[in-house]
């Protein structure tokens, strides 16, 4: 009997995207909540190299790293809700956008939050550069995946929800309707989808977490 488990943390953007993919495809799974300060023996067994969430375990075999897990889910449960396009070039573009978010955008956001002076400014510039790129990529589509939620939409949930919470927590406003109209419209559309609302943590729970994180880091830096 097929058995699927997901190891994650409540506020974790990377494991939530794995759960979204499984929910979109109607795959049942068992969710295990991890405590980052006290990792379970199973997590360490299934992800001995990085010892972090998310991990997907399918029939006892672990898959790690969220983008790799998403592709595995799409390749294993092909019949329902395909996440990636069939055309090789469109697939390459989807991967490019996903990495842009996970690498350049995440790093830039880090500079905005914790960088000083020139580094902070550079972070702001790079954040807006990625947001502009995403805004252009949307064109007239409802979702990055076209008419349906796809791979890039799932990955970009980080921009829609978590980045929004971070902005509120640290008091910056880089992602505005004025500067990024298409992206803002996509965010509204995406976050109001029932499957998204039911499977992502409420923004009100994320803002205090990020506020606390930011304050702790700022205090540590000045002590």
């Amino acid at each position: 009997m097929a058995e699927v488990k997901v190891y994650g943390i409540f506020a974790g953007p990377f494991n939530r995207r794995v759960e979204l993919a499984l929910k979109l495809k109607g795959v049942e799974y068992e969710y295990i909540e991890e405590d980052r300060s006290n990792k379970s023996a199973e997590l360490v067994k299934y992800n001995p190299i990085y010892k972090q969430v998310p991990v997907l375990v399918h029939n006892g075999k672990p898959i790690c790293e969220s983008l790799i897990i998403l592709e595995y889910i799409d390749e294993t449960w092909q019949a329902i809700a395909p996440l990636l396009p069939k055309d090789p070039y469109q697939r390459a573009m989807a991967h490019f956008l996903a990495r842009l978010i996970d690498e350049k955008f995440v790093m830039a956001k880090y500079k905005v939050c914790y960088g000083k002076g020139e580094e902070k400014e550079k972070g702001r510039g790079e954040t807006c550069e990625v947001l502009k790129y995403l805004d252009n990529e949307l064109q007239d589509k409802i979702f990055f995946g076209g008419d349906n939620i796809g791979f890039v939409d799932i990955v970009a949930s980080y921009v829609a929800l978590w980045f929004g919470a971070i902005q509120e927590a640290i008091g910056v406003e880089l992602l505005t309707k004025q500067k990024f109209p298409k992206l803002s419209k996509w965010i509204d559309e995406f976050l109001s989808c029932r499957i998204i609302m039911e499977n992502l943590p409420p923004r009100e729970t994320l803002v205090p977490l990020y506020k606390a994180q930011f304050e702790a880091a700022t205090q540590k830096a000045s002590s």
């Binding site: 190299i49 790293e65 790799i68 592709e71 090789p88 070039y89 697939r91 991967h95 490019f96 990495r99």
Partner: protein, 223 residues
């Protein structure tokens, strides 16, 4: 494929570009090679047009459309030219494993390799240890007693590592250590890969890599 125009925008010393050269050779794809001088700070108009956001090689240009980032381009090549020399296995779990190890391999240069030639003292020693420990893990967990990372066939993870391996001669001199002595199975794997024409014809001269890094050390005052 008829009427296919493939251009590879690359830099002779690029460990990432080397991956694409090997893949194109494995699949016997004809292409035009265009050299980009990544050692200078001048970016060609073609590079800026084809990779405006990262401005880096390699870029695969297929019938005028750019595919950036080496792993994305490798998968694209594998999907478009699927009839010869498959780079990824067909089973989704095996594919996830190949992608996982390729991703692990990719971190080796950024985390350790770069510091081995560009730093000294404690930082350099730390980087050397980090690289050796990581390679030993790779040897034990990913390669084992197999011919290649994927088993009997040369594939994705092998191509990922062979790119970085081309820089090891230079790193060994700068760091005054021997990877062969520490990782004999990987060394045997490296020699096995070099027997393949796709690899031997694509590899840059390791002495020239060493000379390039010497020059870069001078340019950036890292002596």
């Amino acid at each position: 494929m008829e009427n296919d125009k493939v251009i590879l925008l690359d830099f002779w010393a690029s460990m990432l570009g080397l991956r694409l050269r090997v893949a194109l050779a494995e699949k016997e794809i004809e292409y035009e090679y265009k050299e980009e001088d990544s050692a200078s700070n001048i970016k060609s108009p073609l590079l800026l047009k084809m990779n405006p956001i990262h401005k880096k090689v390699p870029v695969l240009i297929h019938n005028g459309k750019p595919v950036c980032e080496s792993f994305i381009a490798l998968e694209y090549i594998d999907e478009v030219w699927k009839d010869k020399a498959p780079l990824l296995p067909t089973d989704p779990y095996e594919r996830a494993q190949a992608r996982f190890w390729a991703d692990y391999i990719d971190k080796l240069y950024e985390n350790f390799g770069r510091k081995i030639w560009s730093t000294k003292g404690e930082v350099q020693e730390g980087a050397k240890k980090g690289l050796i420990d990581s390679l030993k893990l790779l040897e034990q967990a990913a390669l084992g007693d197999k011919l290649y990372f994927g088993g009997e066939s040369f594939g994705f993870a092998d191509i990922a590592l062979i790119g970085i391996y081309s820089w090891f001669y230079a790193l060994e001199i700068f760091g005054n250590f021997s990877i062969e002595a520490e990782c004999p199975k990987l060394d045997a794997w490296d020699k096995r890969c070099k027997l393949r024409e796709s690899v031997s014809k694509s590899l840059p001269d390791p002495h020239k890599i060493y000379e390039l890094l010497l020059e870069l050390k001078k340019t950036y005052g890292l002596e």
